[in-house]
Symmetry: C2
Subunit: 337 residues, 2 copies
Amino acid sequence: MKLATLKHGGRDGTLVVVSRDLTRCQTVAGIARTLQAALDDWDTVAPELELVYDMLNAGHARHAIPFDPAHCHSPLPRAYQWADGSAYINHVELVRKARNAEVPASFYTDPLMYQGGSDSFIGPRDKIVADDSWGIDFEAEVAVVTGDVAMGATPAEAAASIRLLMLVNDVSLRNLIPKELEKGFGFFQSKPASAFSPVAVTPDELGVAWEGAKLHLPLRVELNGAAFGCPNAGQDMTFDFGQLVAHVAKTRELEAGSIIGSGTVSNKQGGLWGSTVANGGVGYCCLAELRMYETIEQGKPVTPFMKAGDRVRIEMLDEAGNNVFGTIDNTVVPLGG
Amino acid sequence: MKLATLKHGGRDGTLVVVSRDLTRCQTVAGIARTLQAALDDWDTVAPELELVYDMLNAGHARHAIPFDPAHCHSPLPRAYQWADGSAYINHVELVRKARNAEVPASFYTDPLMYQGGSDSFIGPRDKIVADDSWGIDFEAEVAVVTGDVAMGATPAEAAASIRLLMLVNDVSLRNLIPKELEKGFGFFQSKPASAFSPVAVTPDELGVAWEGAKLHLPLRVELNGAAFGCPNAGQDMTFDFGQLVAHVAKTRELEAGSIIGSGTVSNKQGGLWGSTVANGGVGYCCLAELRMYETIEQGKPVTPFMKAGDRVRIEMLDEAGNNVFGTIDNTVVPLGG
């Protein structure tokens, strides 16, 4: 099943069921007005939404309208929980290598996560409002939306709580990070509002691509119209989503609608630090990785961060070439611009 | 105006207006079913709630029922944003002094904040479910709930966005903190679900005690029936709530219902590191501070962290001795107990 949130209808928007091919959608106010409302009562609501989904796909939905991602907010325009992992250790290894630091051994057994802010996401086609001097970067990731998760849940229990998957652009302000991490309390101003894919999909929708609580499809990133990355999100993921969600739930219960991210998708590409798409590699899912690669190879970063007018697109195609989640498409605009 | 949330009525509970003396309350489903709904549309809703408040205080509310904090959830049982500052630098100075580290100069001009998780708070009278080995501690604080705040808001604009004040018990798991901070991404498992006071109050309710975006009243903490702390929340607060909220909004907008905490209230007590209530001082608002004081004075901490059965009470009285927010009253129970 595929679900999206149209922007009209208040702060939480309006829930729609979207056809598998992303061409049509239907509002379902009689079932659930918002995605959070559906998640709050998922066992009752999901079967009813599935019926609408089946009718949409069969072309029998009487009130279907064309689906336009330009009218979408993030599936959860605001959420009660957004925590993001660093499950692709290659990303961490690259950062450390660029400053000649070791990756602590514990990083391979204990997930590294940060607590994000979730009160106001931007939409999949919204502008990134930021000052060029902040070092604007994208991070292309996969994320899951959970149901209720008990404190102390096992990774298997946590994996079973996963209700939906989405893509994320975890916007990061690189030039604000060093000073912030120096303070010792983690990211804060350096992690502004993230954008999610127009569509959230249930795990069953992904077929064999959803295996072992990992999503085994390439994540495609395009920067200013040129291919920038296409690593496979199922490869080199040190911690699966069951492990990530269980990490969050170790000392607290998680409530329905919690979003847990994978961290920047990153493939090792045969033990190297990766290579660009232009050089025949799978490229990268953030500018920072390319800049670290450049630092390792050439002594300093060459590729600049994003500036006003720069545009990033993030999407995932299934094996038949169909767009699964719709496309995140964010352009930078200056603060006050 | 005083507002609370009764536990029945779903995940967000049921909003009630509470009389100034905390003896009676009234549901207001016809105005706003939940506190978040009221905050989402505050300018329209607040005047209607004020009318109910006036009637309650005058003894004219026809459907008033007795107010029982035991039936309360935290005013926002779940929220879209919970960020917590360290505005009382004495707390930070003590931590650093105990390990012979300097407080960086920037800490006096740039607020130290961490991003908390907000999907599932515990109620003011709920148990703290935790394992004794985690090093269970309380942190008594003041928090504000904001309306919408624009990105880049000034401290004055941010202060004007404050809709409500509450008390917080920011439960902290001290033995999980060192390893977590070592990882570099801040608190995560070490900050489980916080508890808020039964009642949230509007700033105008506080009269002259709300001045300069600080709350000038003693915060009373009692541990297992003995006075533990009573520092004044208006003293030694290096950053006021306007500055704290503006810090959060530097790179993102904040949506209505965002909760921003002060950090553990802590008074310098004449340049010393504070002293216990028993020794004639104003005491402390967390066990960690007392343990750091003991470390500085005696070479090692003496007071243990909380264990199963231990109970902490947090409240604030106005100058006439009336309980302003109701009392937070949390007892520790073991995981799986």
